[in-house]
């Protein structure tokens, strides 16, 4: 826990000082929402709240990619891996701290982007359940942060990492996003039962558990040269 706390504090402090990730993630999320809202305008409205809710998840995935591609960038660019890896700590603490920091960045970004999404796209028609949408977002963010930090650690050790990370991440993220979209869109439809929603949220929690365990167990090996 000592190493986890120290590394998490460091990750948050670096972002606070550098303001590298969250502003870029926000700019992308808001830019994508504005582009679709004013660029496609009527076409989006015609798609209804279902299409808009699906759009939200596309934005979530690509915003996450921005955070993940820069994950471990300082360790890589300044050769700091050698210092961190030679410290007498459980290397899973590095992954856990980075996952927590990424989760925090995603939550901050979405706390600003979600109300705008609601304002732009969900003023007319039957909106999805806010509670379910937030629960799905939190569970999906956790999965993205844990899986993404594991894969970012792996990609940080190789060349062409900026290309490799999306190639690795997106296929693994497909089930997560598919279920998250189904859960959030499902709450719009009056005939969709609460059990389907619970089942979907249960799947997201299971996904988080699996990638949490994998990240904890495998990070030691993915950062091993």
């Amino acid at each position: 826990m000592r190493a986890y706390r120290a590394l998490l504090r460091k990750d948050l402090l670096l972002e606070l000082r550098g303001r590298e990730l969250v502003p870029a993630m926000l700019a992308f999320a808001l830019g994508a929402l504005l582009l679709v809202r004013f660029g496609l305008g009527g076409a989006t409205q015609a798609g209804g709240t279902r299409a808009a809710t699906g759009l939200l998840w596309v934005v979530v995935v690509f915003t996450s990619m921005l955070a993940l591609v820069r994950s471990f960038a300082q360790e890589r660019e300044h050769g700091i891996w050698d210092g961190i890896l030679s410290a007498p700590i459980d290397r899973a603490a590095i992954w856990a701290a980075r996952s927590t920091a990424t989760l925090a960045f995603l939550i901050v970004t979405q706390a600003i982007a979600l109300p705008l999404f609601w304002l732009f796209f969900l003023q007319d028609g039957n909106p999805p359940s806010l509670g379910v949408l937030v629960a799905a977002l939190l569970l999906a963010d956790l999965g993205v942060a844990m899986l993404g930090s594991l894969l970012a650690g792996l990609a940080s050790q190789v060349h062409a990492r900026e290309v490799l990370l999306p190639v690795l991440f997106l296929p693994f993220a497909v089930p997560l996003v598919t279920v998250a979209v189904r859960v959030s869109v499902g709450t719009i439809s009056p005939q969709t039962g609460g059990s389907a929603t619970l089942e979907g949220l249960g799947f997201l929690a299971l996904y988080d558990t699996i990638f949490g365990l994998l990240g904890w167990a495998l990070f030691e090996y993915v950062v091993e040269d």
Binding site: G79, W81, D82, G83, S86, P88, D225
Partner: protein, 211 residues
């Protein structure tokens, strides 16, 4: 050489480390006893940095046997790490954190008392620069910070990769004082072996011990 009954701080037997097909270390044998300084020399690409990174548990050995502080690598690398202080080519510090914050981070990772960070800064003559970021320090000061980071937890084994690089006369005095205070073993890779005249020199050529 260490005496027959003493356990060497570092022991390598037929150590091999490859990068792709190339053998950066090709059957290296060496022992370093407690209190001994081993001075690694050799041209560029001789394997000095690779050897130090294997001993620092950052790179896995691909063949042979290696132990540090009595712990076999890589199997018991985590047990060996508290005994290791490593200075690499880079200072291994975060540019956005201050000098003191960097030492505090490493101090927490090594579970040292918070006061040690100030002591370490003072030892390398940076007590007034603790709130500066590495980018605001000169090359030599960043090297001093790297020395402070490696010395923070009083390791039994110092691994120093070209530690005199960038150091002015005062910086070299700092390094000299640190090595004088260091009761454990040290392995130093350098192109200035005369500066470490008290140590035992070992020359590497193309990943092998020369001679």
């Amino acid at each position: 050489m260490c005496s027959a009954e003493a356990v060497p701080v570092v022991a390598c037997r037929q150590l091999v480390r490859r990068f792709g097909e190339r053998r950066a270390l090709d059957g290296v044998d060496l022992d370093v006893a407690a209190g001994e300084t081993l001075v690694l020399t050799g041209g560029n690409g001789a394997g000095k940095t690779t050897l130090l990174r294997v001993l620092a548990t950052v790179l896995r050995p691909h063949g042979g046997a290696v132990s540090v502080a009595g712990h076999d690598l890589p199997r018991h690398a985590r047990a060996a790490r508290p005994s290791i202080g490593y200075v690499g080519h880079e200072p291994l510090v975060y540019p956005s954190l201050t000098a003191l914050e960097n030492l505090q981070l490493y101090g927490e990772l090594h579970a040292v008392q918070p006061g040690r960070c100030h002591e370490a800064l003072a030892m390398v003559g940076l007590e007034r620069r603790g709130n500066d970021r590495p980018a605001d320090l000169s090359r030599g000061m960043r090297q001093r910070l790297a020395l402070a980071r490696a010395w923070l937890h009083r390791p039994a084994l110092l691994l120093l990769d070209e530690p005199t690089a960038g150091l002015d006369a005062d910086g070299r005095e700092v390094l000299r004082a640190m090595l004088d205070q260091h009761a454990g073993a040290a392995v130093v890779a350098t192109h200035e072996p005369d500066w470490f005249a008290g140590g035992r020199e070992l020359r590497l050529t193309l990943g092998r011990v020369a001679g």
